[in-house]
Amino acid sequence: MVHNFKTDLTVDWCPGCGDFGIVTSITQALTELNLDPKGVVAVSGIGCSGKTPHYLNIAGAHTLHGRSIPYATGVKLSNPKLKVIVTGGDGDMLSIGAGHFVAEGRRNSGLTIMVYDNEVYGLTKGQAAPTMSFGEQTKSLTKANIFGKLNPIALALSAGYSMVARGFSFDMKQLKEIIKTAIMHEGSTVIDILQPCPTYNNINTMEWYKQRVYKLEDDKSWNPIVSVEDDAKTAGDKFANAMTKALEWGDKIPTGIFYQNKTIPPFTKRLAKNVPNYLEVTPAEQRIATADGYTVVDPKETFADKIIS
């Protein structure tokens, strides 16, 4: 029987919310990849996006505001055999959790990170999120936004993410394919997902986005993939192309895969160089006790360097 990746919980997002398209894209991606439902884990932070794990029929942790990445990293690094997807809002990922967002780029643990980008804090009644443009005034703001706009794609590239992409919640076909590529990608991916907040963002609406988005992959010469065959110059050019595309915003907004570098070793492989048999017998699978219930560790041998004999 095919596993239903959707739970039967009542979804309490607003009608017309972009989140629906994201959840559908995730469940379709998981179904098409035919993954063991117990081999995938969803971790989220707080806010509307944070509810996502409850709607997915896989193990899920709905954690703290801004902290989904470290919780997810703990899951991944203690059991590298698991596929871990992370969902969070723009505020969750890029404001309160920005430090973790940047740090994970350096680690490249192997997380699929989805940023629900609607430029507002929905659940707390529409305050400006870090992705809102300077001077913009959505309907619940008393004054126009006096913060500058943060660029999630450029930030993710700078932080060192080995895969960076953008999707649009109303293009589920493209988003699903991006998610599939990201889940199968060894390192960590950031997917910036443009979506309307029909309740609080009356500027960046579905129509607004639909008029502007275009697909990078529609240009047949677009090749964002860096592989071992590429020399340093080619690899550098691909990163520069991604950065150039990252800066495009306004009348035209690119979606699709900006960058995918397959040559950056994931953190799990880096750890495996130090920790014996880390990938074969993961920390989550190790024996810690003998059958009669005592430590497996021999203190005399393990701490021999501490003995004065």
Partner: protein
């Protein structure tokens, strides 16, 4: 023969090899069969400021330090200036005679207020503001100056290079020569300390021989030190103890963000991540190591360790006050989501950055209340290096058994205590074997169908279930149902009652000494050793004392404590904080107020002599409410 009991302080600039020097001294005494107990004191500084190690050597294992010193070994002028108070009758002061003219005003690395105090003291004694003036003052206090031409001795001994690089070895050698330690033992320590560098070994051995010759040529009076049969022992710090206990207790994932004095523990775990298994049978299964991850901050450290815990990995983090403050929200999450997680909290002097490299016990009340909302947690504390080992094992066990955050308190003084441990007993604390299993579809992660409040644990990777910081149903989905909320709260707190009933009293509180006593001391953490030593001294004087030593603060052994304190004639609380935090916990749980207190919050370790003197003051007065604040310490 006189009982061997030697108190030594060796001091010099940070980065000047004080650690190496005290290591040489410890080892040489160890090779002679003796036990050494030491504490490291240092500034929040990489190079230049004053640091020292205070040690005590005995045949039996020392449990405390004491003043006045028998040896003050100064590798620089600052050490002479900073340690005036440590000198008493018979203190031998070993120093470089070329620093005699050094003026206090040139000792720029001494903190201004410390310098002002020293100036005031020298002025008061009528001595000039120089090393020789200070030495004169020390002489008046009973000290015996031993000026030594450091540069001359070293220069003659080495083939070239900077002589001051060998001053730490020279200081150790002079101390050991005068103490009567056979030169062969110091040579052996040097070979160990510089094991991989043959050239360095030879140069240092040469300096050692020159130092011994110098003492002989100048007819220095040396002590007779009886050589005792040596036995293998572990030389461990409190940080080592924490790391070893975690490793033996099944830890397989540790996170940390660098902070003094906690990060040493993580480094030690990382050094020993390649585990050696106990029997050859297990060796077949021994495909393991421990993942240690340095995180971007302490929020990430606790969150990452929690994430690892939910895959069934025994996980922990280690931090100090400032980092622990950042962990508050995630500890609350671990509480509501019943995540087995251990936080080893190495306490230092607060508030804020406070005294970042100094001792403190001011985080007890915070540990008991960290995080918003009401949730069960356990708070335990260790008082010596061996306790650090076994308590760390227990902490992991408690976290797993009761599915909650366990906060393990170790004070800085203990973290930086080095002690000789005869044995690490792999069978002292059980490590319950828990298989990570796939449950049937009827299984509920937060099942309310439990008498103990403990629902059957499941892990990500085996089962599908949910977790949320919101109040939740048995599956782990969000609920705001008023009745379910009540049932979940009761279920979670039930675990603490079960923990209280299952854990033996010896892990919660211990009464040392006779049941009926004239004086009952109350303490926790690293004052245990010095108080036990004080009790021995007082016992010889006919004073019957006992010690109520606290190890577990949540769940708190209220009845046991109440029973002892209500029978006591005089109770003295001893803590390294200003508010008497443990005494406050006792009052909260038992209604008993302890009005006699010995407190210290200047960041320095409590010594036997200080506690003894303060105890005598309290015993000698009719005052029922009295607080003695201890002040000693460079």
């Amino acid at each position: 023969m006189k009982t061997v009991d030697i108190s030594i302080t060796i001091g010099g600039p940070q980065g000047g090899g004080i650690d190496t020097s005290s290591n040489m001294i410890s080892r040489a005494f160890a090779y002679s069969g003796y036990n050494v107990f030491g504490v490291r004191e240092y500034h929040s500084n990489i190079k230049g400021r004053h640091s020292y190690t205070h040690m005590r050597v005995k045949k039996e294992r020392p449990r405390s330090l004491r003043y006045p010193l028998d040896f003050l070994v100064a590798l620089d002028p600052d050490t002479i200036f900073e340690h005036i108070e440590d000198v008493g009758k018979g203190t031998r002061i070993i120093y470089d005679n070329s620093i005699e003219k050094s003026d206090l005003s040139q000792a720029r690395m001494i903190m201004k207020d410390t310098s002002d105090r020293i100036r005031h003291e020298l002025e008061h004694s009528g001595e000039p503001m120089t090393v020789s003036g200070t030495i004169n003052l020390m002489k008046k206090m009973g000290g015996i100056p031993i000026p030594v031409p450091f540069a001359d001795i070293v220069q003659k001994a080495i083939s070239g290079g900077v002589p001051s690089r060998y001053y730490n070895t020279l200081g150790a050698a002079l101390t050991l020569a005068i103490s009567g330690v056979d030169v062969k033992f110091l040579e052996e320590s040097i070979r160990f300390v510089f094991s991989s560098k043959e050239q360095v070994v030879e140069e240092n051995v040469s300096v050692v021989k020159a130092a011994y010759d110098y003492c002989q040529d100048n007819n220095f009076r040396t002590d007779n030190l009886e050589e005792i049969k040596r036995t293998p022992r572990y030389l461990l710090t409190g940080n080592d103890g924490g790391a070893i206990g975690k490793i033996m207790g099944g830890l397989r994932f540790q996170t940390y963000y660098p902070i003094t004095p906690a990060s040493d523990e993580s480094t030690i775990i990382e050094e020993h991540e390649d585990l050696k298994w106990i029997s050859s049978e297990n060796a077949k299964l021994a495909k393991s190591g421990i993942a240690v991850v340095q995180t971007e901050d302490e929020i990430s450290a606790i969150a990452m360790a929690s994430g690892a815990a939910i895959t069934g990995t025994r996980s922990a983090t280690a931090t100090s006050g400032p980092g622990f403050s950042l962990m508050a929200e995630a500890i609350s999450f671990a509480g509501i989501d019943e995540i087995p997680i251990v936080i080893t909290l190495y306490q230092r002097g607060g508030p804020s950055t406070g005294l970042p490299t100094r001792n403190g016990q001011s985080d007890l009340l915070f540990a008991l209340n960290t995080g918003h909302g009401e949730f069960p947690r356990m708070v335990i504390s260790s008082g010596d290096v061996e306790e650090c080992i076994y308590d760390s094992m227990n902490a992991l066990n408690y976290a797993q058994r009761y599915q909650l955050p366990v906060i393990h308190l170790i004070d800085k003084n203990l973290a930086n205590t080095s002690d000789f441990i005869p044995e690490i007993d792999a069978r002292k604390v059980k490590v319950p074997y828990v298989a990570r299993i796939v449950h049937s579809p009827e299984w509920r992660r937060y099942s309310l169908n439990t008498d103990t409040g403990i629902s059957e644990f499941g892990v990500f990777g085996k089962d599908i279930f949910w977790m949320t910081g919101d109040e939740h149903d048995e599956l782990g989905h969000v609920t705001e149902d008023s009745e379910l909320r009540d049932r979940m709260m009761v279920k979670r707190f039930r675990k603490l009652e079960v923990a209280a009933s299952e854990i033996p009293m010896s892990e919660k509180a211990i009464l040392y000494g006779p049941e009926n006593a004239d004086v009952t001391f109350v303490t926790w953490g690293s004052q245990k050793g010095p108080i036990l030593d004080v009790m021995d001294i007082l016992a010889k004087e006919g004073k019957k004392c006992n010690l109520l030593y606290l190890k577990m603060f949540q769940p708190f052994p209220s009845e046991f404590v109440k029973d002892i304190l209500s029978k006591s004639k005089m109770v003295i609380d001893v803590e390294s904080n200003m508010l008497g935090q443990a005494a406050n916990v006792i009052r909260l749980n038992t209604g008993i107020e302890i009005t006699r207190r010995i407190l210290k919050y200047n960041g320095r370790h409590m010594t036997e002599d200080e506690i003894l003197e303060a105890s005598r003051t309290i015993m000698g007065t009719n005052q029922e409410k009295i607080e003695v604040v201890l002040k000693h310490g460079a």
